[in-house]
Amino acid sequence: MQLILAVAGKDIRAELRSRTALLSALVFAALVLVVFNFARDPTALSATALAPSVLWVTFALAALLAMNRAFTIERENSALDGLLLAPVSREALFLGKLLANLAFVGAVELVTLPLFTLFFNVSLWSSLPGILGTTVLATIGFVAVGTIFSAMAVRTRHAELLLPVLLLPFMVPPLIGAVQVTSRLLAARPWSEMLGWVRLLALYDIVFVTLCTLVFPAVVDE
Protein backbone atom coordinates (compact mmCIF):
# COMPACT_ATOMS: atom_id res chain seq x y z
CA MET A 1 0.00 0.00 0.00
CA GLN A 2 2.79 2.36 0.92
CA LEU A 3 4.54 1.57 -2.33
CA ILE A 4 1.37 2.25 -4.29
CA LEU A 5 1.08 5.65 -2.64
CA ALA A 6 4.77 6.35 -3.28
CA VAL A 7 4.41 5.66 -7.00
CA ALA A 8 1.22 7.71 -7.20
CA GLY A 9 2.73 10.51 -5.12
CA LYS A 10 5.74 10.74 -7.42
CA ASP A 11 3.48 11.22 -10.45
CA ILE A 12 1.22 13.71 -8.76
CA ARG A 13 4.18 15.76 -7.48
CA ALA A 14 5.75 15.82 -10.93
CA GLU A 15 2.46 16.98 -12.37
CA LEU A 16 1.91 19.68 -9.79
CA ARG A 17 5.37 21.08 -10.42
CA SER A 18 4.86 21.57 -14.13
CA ARG A 19 1.07 21.84 -14.30
CA THR A 20 1.18 22.02 -18.11
CA ALA A 21 -0.70 18.78 -18.76
CA LEU A 22 -3.31 19.46 -16.10
CA LEU A 23 -3.95 22.99 -17.33
CA SER A 24 -4.19 22.00 -20.96
CA ALA A 25 -6.56 19.16 -20.11
CA LEU A 26 -8.76 21.61 -18.21
CA VAL A 27 -8.78 24.15 -21.01
CA PHE A 28 -9.52 21.34 -23.43
CA ALA A 29 -12.50 20.16 -21.37
CA ALA A 30 -13.87 23.70 -21.17
CA LEU A 31 -13.49 24.11 -24.93
CA VAL A 32 -15.32 20.88 -25.61
CA LEU A 33 -18.21 22.13 -23.48
CA VAL A 34 -18.29 25.40 -25.41
CA VAL A 35 -18.22 23.63 -28.76
CA PHE A 36 -21.06 21.38 -27.65
CA ASN A 37 -23.17 24.38 -26.85
CA PHE A 38 -22.94 25.51 -30.46
CA ALA A 39 -23.56 22.02 -31.81
CA ARG A 40 -27.08 22.06 -30.39
CA ASP A 41 -30.12 23.83 -31.74
CA PRO A 42 -31.53 25.47 -28.58
CA THR A 43 -35.04 25.69 -30.02
CA ALA A 44 -35.15 22.01 -30.90
CA LEU A 45 -33.37 20.39 -28.00
CA SER A 46 -33.44 21.49 -24.38
CA ALA A 47 -30.15 21.68 -22.50
CA THR A 48 -31.23 19.09 -19.95
CA ALA A 49 -32.03 16.52 -22.63
CA LEU A 50 -28.52 16.71 -23.97
CA ALA A 51 -26.70 17.44 -20.70
CA PRO A 52 -25.74 13.87 -19.64
CA SER A 53 -24.26 13.04 -23.03
CA VAL A 54 -22.37 16.32 -23.18
CA LEU A 55 -20.95 15.80 -19.73
CA TRP A 56 -19.74 12.28 -20.43
CA VAL A 57 -18.35 12.88 -23.88
CA THR A 58 -16.39 15.77 -22.40
CA PHE A 59 -15.11 13.58 -19.56
CA ALA A 60 -14.14 10.83 -21.98
CA LEU A 61 -12.21 13.14 -24.30
CA ALA A 62 -10.44 14.91 -21.45
CA ALA A 63 -9.54 11.56 -19.88
CA LEU A 64 -8.07 10.32 -23.15
CA LEU A 65 -5.92 13.39 -23.33
CA ALA A 66 -4.88 13.07 -19.71
CA MET A 67 -3.96 9.41 -19.90
CA ASN A 68 -1.57 9.86 -22.78
CA ARG A 69 0.62 11.63 -20.29
CA ALA A 70 0.91 8.79 -17.74
CA PHE A 71 3.69 6.89 -19.47
CA THR A 72 5.07 9.54 -21.79
CA ILE A 73 6.71 11.13 -18.76
CA GLU A 74 8.31 7.76 -17.96
CA ARG A 75 9.70 7.45 -21.46
CA GLU A 76 11.95 10.46 -21.17
CA ASN A 77 15.40 9.55 -19.87
CA SER A 78 14.17 5.93 -19.63
CA ALA A 79 12.60 6.74 -16.27
CA LEU A 80 10.49 3.60 -16.52
CA ASP A 81 13.59 1.40 -16.37
CA GLY A 82 14.49 3.03 -13.09
CA LEU A 83 11.03 2.37 -11.74
CA LEU A 84 11.19 -1.25 -12.84
CA LEU A 85 14.54 -1.72 -11.14
CA ALA A 86 13.21 -0.32 -7.89
CA PRO A 87 12.01 -2.92 -5.36
CA VAL A 88 8.38 -2.34 -6.23
CA SER A 89 6.12 -5.19 -7.25
CA ARG A 90 4.53 -4.81 -10.68
CA GLU A 91 1.11 -4.87 -9.10
CA ALA A 92 1.97 -1.97 -6.80
CA LEU A 93 3.46 -0.10 -9.74
CA PHE A 94 0.29 -0.53 -11.75
CA LEU A 95 -2.00 0.44 -8.90
CA GLY A 96 0.16 3.48 -8.17
CA LYS A 97 0.01 4.57 -11.77
CA LEU A 98 -3.73 3.95 -11.77
CA LEU A 99 -4.14 6.05 -8.63
CA ALA A 100 -2.15 8.94 -10.13
CA ASN A 101 -4.21 8.77 -13.31
CA LEU A 102 -7.41 8.72 -11.30
CA ALA A 103 -6.29 11.79 -9.36
CA PHE A 104 -5.46 13.52 -12.60
CA VAL A 105 -8.65 12.61 -14.47
CA GLY A 106 -10.66 13.24 -11.28
CA ALA A 107 -9.23 16.74 -10.97
CA VAL A 108 -10.22 17.51 -14.56
CA GLU A 109 -13.71 16.14 -13.94
CA LEU A 110 -14.08 18.09 -10.73
CA VAL A 111 -13.36 21.37 -12.49
CA THR A 112 -15.46 20.48 -15.51
CA LEU A 113 -18.54 19.82 -13.41
CA PRO A 114 -19.14 23.42 -12.22
CA LEU A 115 -18.35 24.73 -15.71
CA PHE A 116 -20.92 22.32 -17.04
CA THR A 117 -23.63 23.55 -14.66
CA LEU A 118 -22.72 27.10 -15.59
CA PHE A 119 -22.75 26.64 -19.36
CA PHE A 120 -25.74 24.35 -19.56
CA ASN A 121 -27.76 25.85 -16.78
CA VAL A 122 -28.34 22.51 -15.09
CA SER A 123 -28.81 22.46 -11.35
CA LEU A 124 -26.72 19.67 -9.88
CA TRP A 125 -27.11 20.41 -6.18
CA SER A 126 -29.93 18.00 -5.48
CA SER A 127 -28.24 15.10 -7.22
CA LEU A 128 -24.62 15.99 -6.54
CA PRO A 129 -23.72 12.95 -4.36
CA GLY A 130 -25.19 10.63 -6.97
CA ILE A 131 -23.39 12.33 -9.83
CA LEU A 132 -20.08 12.24 -7.98
CA GLY A 133 -20.56 8.57 -7.13
CA THR A 134 -21.38 7.70 -10.72
CA THR A 135 -18.38 9.64 -11.92
CA VAL A 136 -16.08 7.75 -9.57
CA LEU A 137 -17.56 4.36 -10.52
CA ALA A 138 -17.42 4.96 -14.25
CA THR A 139 -13.99 6.60 -14.21
CA ILE A 140 -12.17 3.85 -12.29
CA GLY A 141 -12.99 1.24 -14.92
CA PHE A 142 -11.88 3.02 -18.04
CA VAL A 143 -8.88 4.63 -16.39
CA ALA A 144 -7.65 1.15 -15.40
CA VAL A 145 -7.82 -0.03 -19.00
CA GLY A 146 -6.44 3.32 -20.18
CA THR A 147 -3.44 3.06 -17.85
CA ILE A 148 -2.42 -0.27 -19.31
CA PHE A 149 -3.03 0.85 -22.89
CA SER A 150 -1.05 4.03 -22.41
CA ALA A 151 1.87 1.94 -21.14
CA MET A 152 1.69 0.02 -24.41
CA ALA A 153 1.01 2.96 -26.68
CA VAL A 154 4.09 4.93 -25.58
CA ARG A 155 6.27 2.17 -26.96
CA THR A 156 5.04 3.05 -30.45
CA ARG A 157 5.60 6.15 -32.51
CA HIS A 158 1.97 7.22 -32.71
CA ALA A 159 0.88 6.90 -29.11
CA GLU A 160 -1.55 9.83 -29.34
CA LEU A 161 -3.43 8.09 -32.12
CA LEU A 162 -3.24 4.53 -30.91
CA LEU A 163 -4.53 5.12 -27.40
CA PRO A 164 -7.97 6.41 -28.45
CA VAL A 165 -8.34 3.71 -31.10
CA LEU A 166 -7.64 1.01 -28.53
CA LEU A 167 -9.40 2.58 -25.58
CA LEU A 168 -12.65 3.91 -27.05
CA PRO A 169 -14.32 0.49 -27.44
CA PHE A 170 -13.49 -0.11 -23.78
CA MET A 171 -15.04 3.20 -22.81
CA VAL A 172 -18.39 2.26 -24.31
CA PRO A 173 -19.90 0.22 -21.45
CA PRO A 174 -18.94 2.68 -18.68
CA LEU A 175 -20.02 5.64 -20.79
CA ILE A 176 -23.41 4.15 -21.63
CA GLY A 177 -23.92 3.27 -17.99
CA ALA A 178 -22.81 6.68 -16.72
CA VAL A 179 -25.00 8.57 -19.19
CA GLN A 180 -28.00 6.47 -18.23
CA VAL A 181 -27.50 6.97 -14.50
CA THR A 182 -26.79 10.69 -14.90
CA SER A 183 -29.91 11.33 -16.95
CA ARG A 184 -32.03 9.50 -14.38
CA LEU A 185 -30.41 11.43 -11.56
CA LEU A 186 -31.10 14.74 -13.30
CA ALA A 187 -34.70 13.71 -13.87
CA ALA A 188 -34.95 12.71 -10.17
CA ARG A 189 -36.00 9.15 -11.00
CA PRO A 190 -36.17 6.53 -8.22
CA TRP A 191 -33.05 4.61 -7.29
CA SER A 192 -34.48 1.29 -8.47
CA GLU A 193 -34.31 2.49 -12.08
CA MET A 194 -30.57 3.06 -11.83
CA LEU A 195 -29.59 0.03 -9.83
CA GLY A 196 -28.99 -2.19 -12.84
CA TRP A 197 -26.64 0.34 -14.38
CA VAL A 198 -24.80 0.98 -11.13
CA ARG A 199 -24.24 -2.76 -10.79
CA LEU A 200 -22.91 -2.90 -14.34
CA LEU A 201 -20.48 -0.06 -13.61
CA ALA A 202 -19.29 -1.69 -10.39
CA LEU A 203 -18.85 -5.06 -12.08
CA TYR A 204 -16.85 -3.45 -14.87
CA ASP A 205 -14.56 -1.82 -12.31
CA ILE A 206 -13.97 -5.05 -10.42
CA VAL A 207 -13.32 -7.13 -13.53
CA PHE A 208 -11.03 -4.70 -15.30
CA VAL A 209 -9.03 -3.44 -12.33
CA THR A 210 -8.30 -7.06 -11.36
CA LEU A 211 -7.52 -8.15 -14.89
CA CYS A 212 -5.33 -5.16 -15.67
CA THR A 213 -3.36 -5.64 -12.46
CA LEU A 214 -2.79 -9.27 -13.44
CA VAL A 215 -1.63 -8.63 -17.00
CA PHE A 216 0.39 -5.48 -16.29
CA PRO A 217 3.67 -7.40 -15.77
CA ALA A 218 3.36 -8.65 -19.36
CA VAL A 219 3.36 -5.05 -20.54
CA VAL A 220 6.42 -3.76 -18.70
CA ASP A 221 8.65 -6.84 -18.21
CA GLU A 222 11.02 -7.81 -20.98
Partner: protein
Protein backbone atom coordinates in the same frame (compact mmCIF):
# COMPACT_ATOMS: atom_id res chain seq x y z
CA UNK B 1 9.03 -14.28 -54.03
CA UNK B 2 11.88 -16.73 -53.66
CA UNK B 3 11.34 -19.59 -51.23
CA UNK B 4 12.96 -18.53 -48.01
CA UNK B 5 12.16 -21.44 -45.88
CA UNK B 6 10.73 -24.84 -46.78
CA UNK B 7 8.50 -25.03 -43.74
CA UNK B 8 6.85 -21.65 -44.23
CA UNK B 9 6.36 -22.47 -47.89
CA UNK B 10 4.74 -25.77 -47.05
CA UNK B 11 2.34 -24.11 -44.61
CA UNK B 12 1.41 -21.40 -47.10
CA UNK B 13 0.74 -24.01 -49.76
CA UNK B 14 -1.38 -26.04 -47.37
CA UNK B 15 -3.35 -22.88 -46.53
CA UNK B 16 -3.89 -22.09 -50.18
CA UNK B 17 -5.07 -25.65 -50.87
CA UNK B 18 -7.53 -25.43 -47.99
CA UNK B 19 -8.78 -22.05 -49.20
CA UNK B 20 -9.16 -23.38 -52.75
CA UNK B 21 -11.23 -26.30 -51.46
CA UNK B 22 -13.32 -23.84 -49.45
CA UNK B 23 -13.88 -21.70 -52.56
CA UNK B 24 -15.19 -24.73 -54.41
CA UNK B 25 -17.45 -25.29 -51.41
CA UNK B 26 -18.54 -21.66 -51.62
CA UNK B 27 -19.68 -22.23 -55.21
CA UNK B 28 -21.72 -25.15 -53.92
CA UNK B 29 -23.25 -22.87 -51.29
CA UNK B 30 -24.28 -20.40 -53.99
CA UNK B 31 -25.86 -23.18 -56.03
CA UNK B 32 -27.65 -24.56 -52.99
CA UNK B 33 -28.81 -21.15 -51.79
CA UNK B 34 -30.14 -20.13 -55.19
CA UNK B 35 -31.43 -23.44 -56.52
CA UNK B 36 -32.12 -25.78 -53.65
CA UNK B 37 -33.61 -23.70 -50.85
CA UNK B 38 -37.19 -22.45 -51.10
CA UNK B 39 -37.88 -18.72 -51.34
CA UNK B 40 -38.83 -17.44 -47.91
CA UNK B 41 -42.50 -16.47 -47.80
CA UNK B 42 -42.27 -13.04 -46.18
CA UNK B 43 -38.78 -11.85 -47.04
CA UNK B 44 -38.54 -13.15 -50.59
CA UNK B 45 -35.13 -13.50 -52.21
CA UNK B 46 -33.52 -11.04 -49.78
CA UNK B 47 -33.42 -13.87 -47.28
CA UNK B 48 -30.85 -15.73 -49.43
CA UNK B 49 -28.07 -13.54 -48.04
CA UNK B 50 -28.64 -15.36 -44.77
CA UNK B 51 -26.53 -18.26 -46.09
CA UNK B 52 -23.51 -15.99 -46.34
CA UNK B 53 -24.17 -13.56 -43.52
CA UNK B 54 -24.64 -16.04 -40.69
CA UNK B 55 -21.64 -18.26 -41.54
CA UNK B 56 -19.44 -15.16 -41.97
CA UNK B 57 -20.55 -13.98 -38.54
CA UNK B 58 -19.77 -17.42 -37.14
CA UNK B 59 -16.26 -17.36 -38.61
CA UNK B 60 -15.64 -13.82 -37.35
CA UNK B 61 -16.71 -14.69 -33.81
CA UNK B 62 -14.66 -17.89 -33.94
CA UNK B 63 -11.64 -15.87 -35.09
CA UNK B 64 -12.00 -13.26 -32.36
CA UNK B 65 -12.55 -15.73 -29.54
CA UNK B 66 -9.47 -17.66 -30.63
CA UNK B 67 -7.44 -14.41 -30.56
CA UNK B 68 -8.39 -13.96 -26.90
CA UNK B 69 -7.80 -17.59 -25.96
CA UNK B 70 -4.43 -17.85 -27.73
CA UNK B 71 -3.48 -14.50 -26.17
CA UNK B 72 -4.05 -15.90 -22.70
CA UNK B 73 -2.16 -19.07 -23.61
CA UNK B 74 0.70 -17.01 -24.99
CA UNK B 75 1.18 -15.12 -21.75
CA UNK B 76 1.33 -18.46 -20.00
CA UNK B 77 3.44 -20.56 -22.40
CA UNK B 78 5.38 -17.81 -24.27
CA UNK B 79 5.24 -19.84 -27.46
CA UNK B 80 5.70 -17.62 -30.56
CA UNK B 81 3.50 -19.97 -32.58
CA UNK B 82 0.52 -18.91 -30.48
CA UNK B 83 1.19 -15.27 -31.24
CA UNK B 84 1.54 -15.92 -34.95
CA UNK B 85 -1.76 -17.76 -34.87
CA UNK B 86 -3.48 -14.95 -32.95
CA UNK B 87 -2.26 -12.37 -35.46
CA UNK B 88 -3.43 -14.46 -38.41
CA UNK B 89 -6.77 -15.09 -36.74
CA UNK B 90 -7.31 -11.39 -36.02
CA UNK B 91 -6.64 -10.41 -39.62
CA UNK B 92 -8.93 -13.08 -41.00
CA UNK B 93 -11.54 -12.17 -38.39
CA UNK B 94 -11.51 -8.54 -39.54
CA UNK B 95 -12.07 -9.72 -43.11
CA UNK B 96 -15.00 -11.94 -42.11
CA UNK B 97 -16.58 -9.27 -39.96
CA UNK B 98 -16.31 -6.89 -42.91
CA UNK B 99 -18.34 -9.44 -44.89
CA UNK B 100 -20.80 -9.69 -42.00
CA UNK B 101 -21.10 -5.92 -41.61
CA UNK B 102 -21.71 -5.38 -45.34
CA UNK B 103 -24.11 -8.25 -45.99
CA UNK B 104 -26.12 -7.28 -42.89
CA UNK B 105 -27.20 -3.80 -44.07
CA UNK B 106 -27.85 -5.09 -47.61
CA UNK B 107 -30.40 -7.44 -46.08
CA UNK B 108 -31.67 -4.97 -43.48
CA UNK B 109 -32.52 -2.26 -46.00
CA UNK B 110 -35.41 -4.11 -47.69
CA UNK B 111 -36.44 -6.12 -44.61
CA UNK B 112 -36.11 -3.68 -41.70
CA UNK B 113 -36.41 -0.60 -43.89
CA UNK B 114 -33.13 0.79 -42.63
CA UNK B 115 -29.47 0.12 -43.28
CA UNK B 116 -28.49 0.19 -39.66
CA UNK B 117 -30.15 0.00 -36.27
CA UNK B 118 -28.59 0.10 -32.82
CA UNK B 119 -29.69 -3.38 -31.99
CA UNK B 120 -27.59 -5.13 -29.34
CA UNK B 121 -26.09 -7.66 -31.70
CA UNK B 122 -25.30 -5.14 -34.41
CA UNK B 123 -23.62 -2.78 -31.98
CA UNK B 124 -21.62 -5.58 -30.44
CA UNK B 125 -20.25 -6.81 -33.75
CA UNK B 126 -19.42 -3.29 -34.85
CA UNK B 127 -17.37 -2.75 -31.70
CA UNK B 128 -15.69 -6.10 -32.10
CA UNK B 129 -14.66 -4.96 -35.56
CA UNK B 130 -13.25 -1.69 -34.17
CA UNK B 131 -11.52 -3.52 -31.36
CA UNK B 132 -9.66 -5.81 -33.72
CA UNK B 133 -8.80 -3.06 -36.14
CA UNK B 134 -7.18 -1.43 -33.11
CA UNK B 135 -5.46 -4.72 -32.31
CA UNK B 136 -3.96 -4.83 -35.80
CA UNK B 137 -2.99 -1.15 -35.64
CA UNK B 138 -1.11 -1.82 -32.41
CA UNK B 139 0.67 -4.79 -33.97
CA UNK B 140 1.67 -2.73 -36.97
CA UNK B 141 3.08 0.00 -34.74
CA UNK B 142 5.35 -2.32 -32.74
CA UNK B 143 8.58 -3.75 -34.07
CA UNK B 144 10.08 -5.93 -31.37
CA UNK B 145 8.43 -9.36 -31.91
CA UNK B 146 8.38 -10.36 -28.23
CA UNK B 147 6.94 -7.02 -27.18
CA UNK B 148 4.38 -7.14 -29.97
CA UNK B 149 3.32 -10.62 -28.90
CA UNK B 150 2.92 -9.65 -25.24
CA UNK B 151 1.04 -6.43 -25.95
CA UNK B 152 -1.34 -7.97 -28.43
CA UNK B 153 -2.00 -10.88 -26.07
CA UNK B 154 -3.05 -8.34 -23.43
CA UNK B 155 -5.39 -6.56 -25.86
CA UNK B 156 -6.81 -9.92 -26.96
CA UNK B 157 -7.59 -10.98 -23.40
CA UNK B 158 -9.11 -7.64 -22.41
CA UNK B 159 -11.14 -7.68 -25.62
CA UNK B 160 -12.55 -11.10 -24.85
CA UNK B 161 -13.76 -9.82 -21.47
CA UNK B 162 -15.14 -6.64 -22.97
CA UNK B 163 -17.62 -8.56 -25.13
CA UNK B 164 -20.09 -9.48 -22.36
CA UNK B 165 -19.97 -5.91 -21.03
CA UNK B 166 -20.76 -4.32 -24.36
CA UNK B 167 -23.52 -6.83 -24.94
CA UNK B 168 -25.01 -6.27 -21.49
CA UNK B 169 -24.88 -2.50 -21.66
CA UNK B 170 -26.34 -2.27 -25.15
CA UNK B 171 -29.00 -4.81 -24.25
CA UNK B 172 -29.94 -2.93 -21.10
CA UNK B 173 -29.97 0.29 -23.09
CA UNK B 174 -32.41 -1.09 -25.59
CA UNK B 175 -34.76 -2.83 -23.22
CA UNK B 176 -35.10 0.27 -21.10
CA UNK B 177 -35.60 2.47 -24.14
CA UNK B 178 -38.06 0.66 -26.35
CA UNK B 179 -37.53 1.66 -29.96
CA UNK B 180 -39.98 1.51 -32.84
CA UNK B 181 -40.86 -2.14 -33.32
CA UNK B 182 -38.44 -3.58 -35.82
CA UNK B 183 -39.63 -6.39 -37.98
CA UNK B 184 -37.41 -9.23 -37.00
CA UNK B 185 -37.77 -12.91 -37.79
CA UNK B 186 -38.14 -14.55 -34.41
CA UNK B 187 -36.04 -17.64 -34.96
CA UNK B 188 -38.40 -19.52 -37.24
CA UNK B 189 -37.96 -23.24 -37.37
CA UNK B 190 -36.20 -23.66 -40.68
CA UNK B 191 -37.33 -25.97 -43.46
CA UNK B 192 -34.80 -28.79 -43.83
CA UNK B 193 -33.45 -27.42 -47.14
CA UNK B 194 -32.60 -24.12 -45.52
CA UNK B 195 -31.05 -25.74 -42.49
CA UNK B 196 -28.92 -28.07 -44.61
CA UNK B 197 -27.70 -25.21 -46.77
CA UNK B 198 -26.86 -23.18 -43.70
CA UNK B 199 -24.92 -26.07 -42.21
CA UNK B 200 -23.00 -26.62 -45.44
CA UNK B 201 -22.25 -22.93 -45.63
CA UNK B 202 -21.08 -22.80 -42.01
CA UNK B 203 -18.76 -25.70 -42.71
CA UNK B 204 -17.45 -23.99 -45.83
CA UNK B 205 -16.82 -20.76 -43.97
CA UNK B 206 -15.03 -22.60 -41.18
CA UNK B 207 -12.85 -24.25 -43.81
CA UNK B 208 -12.29 -20.85 -45.41
CA UNK B 209 -11.23 -19.52 -42.02
CA UNK B 210 -8.83 -22.42 -41.50
CA UNK B 211 -7.38 -21.97 -44.99
CA UNK B 212 -6.88 -18.23 -44.63
CA UNK B 213 -5.36 -18.52 -41.17
CA UNK B 214 -3.02 -21.28 -42.25
CA UNK B 215 -1.81 -19.30 -45.26
CA UNK B 216 -1.44 -16.17 -43.16
CA UNK B 217 0.44 -18.11 -40.50
CA UNK B 218 2.87 -19.38 -43.09
CA UNK B 219 3.36 -15.87 -44.44
CA UNK B 220 4.10 -14.58 -40.95
CA UNK B 221 6.63 -17.35 -40.48
CA UNK B 222 8.32 -16.53 -43.79
CA UNK B 223 8.34 -12.86 -42.82
CA UNK B 224 10.02 -13.61 -39.51
CA UNK B 225 12.65 -15.82 -41.12
CA UNK B 226 13.44 -13.14 -43.68
CA UNK B 227 13.76 -10.45 -41.05
CA UNK B 228 16.04 -12.73 -39.09
CA UNK B 229 18.22 -13.37 -42.13
CA UNK B 230 18.40 -9.71 -43.04
CA UNK B 231 19.22 -8.89 -39.44
CA UNK B 232 22.05 -11.42 -39.36
CA UNK B 233 23.42 -10.09 -42.66
CA UNK B 234 23.71 -6.62 -41.18
CA UNK B 235 24.95 -7.68 -37.77
Amino acid sequence: MEPIDGKADRIIRRGLRLSAAAFVGLLLVYVLALGYTPVEARQGVAQKIFYLHVPAAWSALLAFSLVGVTGALYLWLQDPRLDRFAAASAEVGVAFSAVMLTTGPIWARPIWGTWWTWDARLTLTLFLFFLFVGYLALRAALHDPAERARFSAVVGILGLLLVPFIHLSVYLFRTLHPQPIVLKPSAPSLPPEMLRTLLVSTLVFTLLYAGFVTARYGLALADERRELEEGSDVG
